[in-house]
Structure formats: C-alpha cells, structure tokens
Amino acid sequence: MINLLSAEFSRLFKNKLLWALSAFVTGFGVFEIVMQYIDSRQMGTVSYLDNTLFAYVLVIGGCGAIFCSMFIGTDYQDGTIRNKLVVGHRREQMYLCTYVISVCASVVMMALYFAVQFTLGIALLGKPAMGVSQLLVFIGIGMLTIAAFDAVYVLISMLIPSRSSAAVACLLVFFGLIIVAAVINGMLDAPEYIQEYSMTVNGVELSEPQPNPRYLSGMKREFYQFLYDFLPTGQGVQLVSCAVLHPIRLALCSLGITAASILGGICVFRNEDIK
C-alpha cells in the first residue's frame, strides 16, 4: 500500500489537471471575494467573509468529478492498472490508495482556496463573523462532504473502465444531485402560510393568511430534510449559505456515504475482469 501511495503521489503532483483545477478553484475564490467587496461598496452594505468561505464545497465537488474520472481513467486507458496487478498488489489496496489520492487532490484544492480566503478575503472583507468553533465545525463538515463526493466518484471511475464514460457519469451524478438538492431546498423553503394580494380601489390589500398546500409537514418534511442533509450537494448548499441545521447528522451522512461507497466499490472491483 505504501509503495502504491508513493507511486501515485509522484504521479499526482506531476498531474497537469490537478494544477489546472486548483488554479480554477483559486481563481473562483478570488472572484467571489472581489464580487462581494464590489457589491458591499456599491450597496453600502456590510459583507462578511462567511458569505464566500464555504462556496468551495460545491466547486470542489464538481472539480472532483472531473479529476477522479480523468486521473483514474488514465490508469485504465494507458493500461497501467495492469502493471500493479501483475506484480501482486491487492485490489483492495489499489482501491483504497486511489481513494486516498483523490481526497488528497481535493485537499490541495481546498488548501489553496482557504489560502486565498484567509489572505485576500480578510484583507477586503474582514474576519469571519462566525465564531472559531463554528468555523472549525463547518470546515470539518465541508471536508467530510468532499470526501463523500470523492468516494462516489472513485466508485464510478473504478468500475467504468472507459475514461470518457466515467467522466460523463461523474458529471451527470454531480449535476443530477445539484438539481435534486435545489428541488428539495425549494420544497423545504416553501412558507407554511401564504397571503394573496389583491388590487382594490383602496390600493393593495392582503388577504387572510391561508395554509400553503405545498408546505411540507410531519413525516414528509422529516424525510425531505433527511434527504437534504444526506445528499452531498444538499450539504454543500447548506454550507454555502451557512445554514447548517443538523451538523452531526451531516457529518454522519457523509461518513456513511463514504463507507458504503468504498465497501461496495471494493466488493465489485475485487471480482472485476480487467482487460
């Protein structure tokens, strides 16, 4: 396993895609800060670093889809995965090694993003409004969310030998989950009561508040809230808006997704025919 990690790390740090994606994530971080700064100056409002600090979760989640599929797919496309199997590396170790490398790539991107946030961000927007402990909790949840994203991408990329097919599948999963999270977010955000506006001779009049038929309540609300907390994209949306209701549940869900993906992936990969 150590030999494999050593080999893969040497390949990782020479990988142009990693540095291209890292540059993109860093650029995105700079763009977010500058836009917040310009907005606050134009509107005369106060902007906090908190608004930009956790946007990385979804960005790196998307970049991870590209990186994992391309990095792992290269091993299949160039046939170099065979070199590891022929000389007696166990498939379980190969799978775990690939996962560790994928998480490390995400950590590199995340570190560069935070470097920008805690230098340029503090310079332009000031320190984060949230306390240190909450900040650390959010950063921890963000890391677990990204680890869950990577586990899913590694699963897909290790089981689909075609690099382009794996890339398409990973991106479809990412964007599919984004759409699902956005829909659930919309459902959960629906107000409990609605009021209708009507124009009268006396001007605009508000009707009596009526129960909103689209409002989710009871078990249904619990279910959708759980789904929102469970999905990595749902977690990402919560972190971006700094509106995390159930931090422990989020962390446990990420760990669950990671563990299930790795175990399932290893089980299938162990018996997969490699060409």
Partner: protein, 304 residues
C-alpha cells in the same frame, strides 16, 4: 522438471462463450514457451488469468508452485512481469518517468538500474520525449522494460511483435533471446507470427477452443517436421512400385504428388521411373515448418 507456470483445467467464460475450456499447460523454467493459436482461441484470456487481471471460473494455476488461491500468490507475482495486449505505459510520461513509476509501484529502494534497463531495451537516448510520441516498437520495448523492472524470473508477452516493422521484429527477438540466455528469464510468448516464433521458442503450446491441443518441445517439433523430397509424377502407381523396390519411406499426397522421406538417390529414382514410363514433372526439397505443423494439427490430423 521445475515449472514457472502450471495450469490445470482452467475455465473462463464470458457470457455463453467459453474462452478457456479446461485448459492445462506447463511452462518449464528457463524456456521460451511459444503459445500458438488462432484469434479467439483463448491465448489472451489465459495470459489475463495468470497475470491476475481476471479470475478463472474453474480449475487452478500454479506460479512457481504456488496455487492461485493461496495467500502467497501476491508475493510470488513479484517474480513476474507482463505485457498483455498493449504495452502498459503512461503516454504522458517519458521512458525514464515510466520506469520510475514502476520502481515506486514495486517499492524498489534504488533507481540506479533505470539507465541500465533503458540501455537493455535500446531506449537510453529518448530524453524528454513522451511515450505518446514513441513508435510502436519503442512503446513495445518500453512496455517490456516496465515489465522487467522488478528483475522478474518469468516474463509474459502477448503478441510482442504485432504491428512491428521488420527492424522492430528483429530488435524484439534479439531482446527476448538476450533476456532468456543472459538473464535466465523464462518467457511465455503468444504470437500469430509462427515463423518468428519458430526462431525463438524452445517449447510450444498449441491452443484451440480454449484447450491446449498439443504441448511439444522445439526438439520434438523438429523431429516431427522431417525433411522430405516432394515430387509430382505422371503415374503414382509406378512411383509406389519403384519406391517400394528402393525401400524408401514415402507418403502419397494426391494422384500426382508424393513425399519421400530419408536419403534419396535422385538420379537413380528418376532413371527407374523413366524406365517404367513415368515422368517426373517438378521435384523440390520440402521442409515442414511450424506453420504447416500448426495447420495439420489444427486440422485434427496429427494430435499425437
């Protein structure tokens, strides 16, 4: 005799297609084992199975006496190197970087031998050129160099000269012979190019329909492929009488063709035939090749 590889009743099925159908074979240590068979006969499947890329559905194989289901098989695989189908090399890396990667994969402490290895396969002057810009022959040689990284005792090569130009074929042949003779590496080669294989192999395994039809050493094959004189005559009846009289071993091939084995006094034979009114049309020495042996074998005529 010690064997690098022993396969016993190996089976592998893809859907309803039986790629390996109870295949048994033995590769003696120190041999260059030529693995011969038509497309789809199961050659590459066998190589994939013994390299651990695929699991057999039935049967077993032993590498250096260790069973494939044994926990020690992973350690034993360290003694193997393989190029299955295409060379397994990173296209975006140079030759040296590819070897460095494999050294890391193997956990070799020193990278000192990389230069030597590149020299051995004739790639020492490729510099910063990336593998994707290599010719097919260069890629093939780099693939072999990667397979040689851990100083293997057993090298598996799948169609190593496929698609190479004549110069490339000679280079690969010389490399394989050097590895076998100077480094004592046992080589298992699958190939379609029988003429090329006949210049290398010390042992042969003929596979058809996922089963080994025949295993034979090069000496046995040479003995089986006897030299003969093939002649076409106007009357084979007369020819038979004359040859019987001369106590020659022969085989009638058709109404006008026959093979005569052993030392033959041609002028005496032609005179004798002429005396009985039988004309000899063409006559030439015939040396049965690996190719004709293979064709006869796969035709089902001579399985023993």
């Amino acid at each position: 005799m010690e064997y690098c590889l022993e396969a016993k009743s190996l089976c592998k099925q893809y859907g309803h297609f039986k790629a390996l159908n109870g295949l048994s074979m033995r590769v003696p240590r120190g041999a260059i084992y030529g693995f011969v068979g038509r497309n789809g006969a199961g050659k590459t499947t066998l190589l994939r199975v013994i390299c651990g890329l695929q699991k057999p559905d039935g049967g077993e194989y032993l590498l250096f006496g260790t069973k494939n289901e044994s926990a020690d098989i992973y350690k034993v695989r360290r003694r193997m190197g393989a190029v299955v189908e295409t060379p397994s090399i990173y296209a975006e890396m140079t030759a040296e970087e590819n070897l460095r990667m494999q050294y890391h994969v193997l956990g070799l402490p020193s990278l000192e031998n990389i230069g030597e290895l590149l020299q051995l396969v004739g790639l020492s002057n490729t510099g910063r050129k990336k593998a994707r810009n290599f010719s097919l022959g260069m890629r093939q040689r780099l693939g072999i160099a990667v397979a040689l990284c851990g100083n293997p005792d057993f090298l598996v090569l799948d169609e190593p000269v496929n698609g190479l130009d004549p110069q490339g074929i000679v280079e690969i042949r010389e490399l394989i012979l050097r590895l076998n003779r100077e480094h004592g590496i046992t080589v298992l080669i699958s190939s379609h190019i029988l003429d090329e294989l006949s210049r290398l192999a010390t042992h042969y395994g003929f596979i058809d329909g996922g089963t080994i039809v025949k295993e034979i050493s090069a000496e046995e094959l040479n003995a089986a492929c006897r030299k003969c004189v093939r002649l076409t005559v106007s009357d084979t009846g007369v020819l038979c009488r004359v040859l019987d009289r001369m106590e020659q071993e022969y085989q009638i091939l058709s109404d006008s063709e026959a093979d005569i084995y052993g030392e033959t006094n041609i002028s005496q034979l032609i005179s004798a035939l002429g005396a009985e009114g039988c004309e000899v049309i063409p006559l030439h020495e015939h040396d049965e090749s690996l190719e004709s042996y293979y064709i006869n074998l796969m035709g089902g005529g001579r399985h023993d």
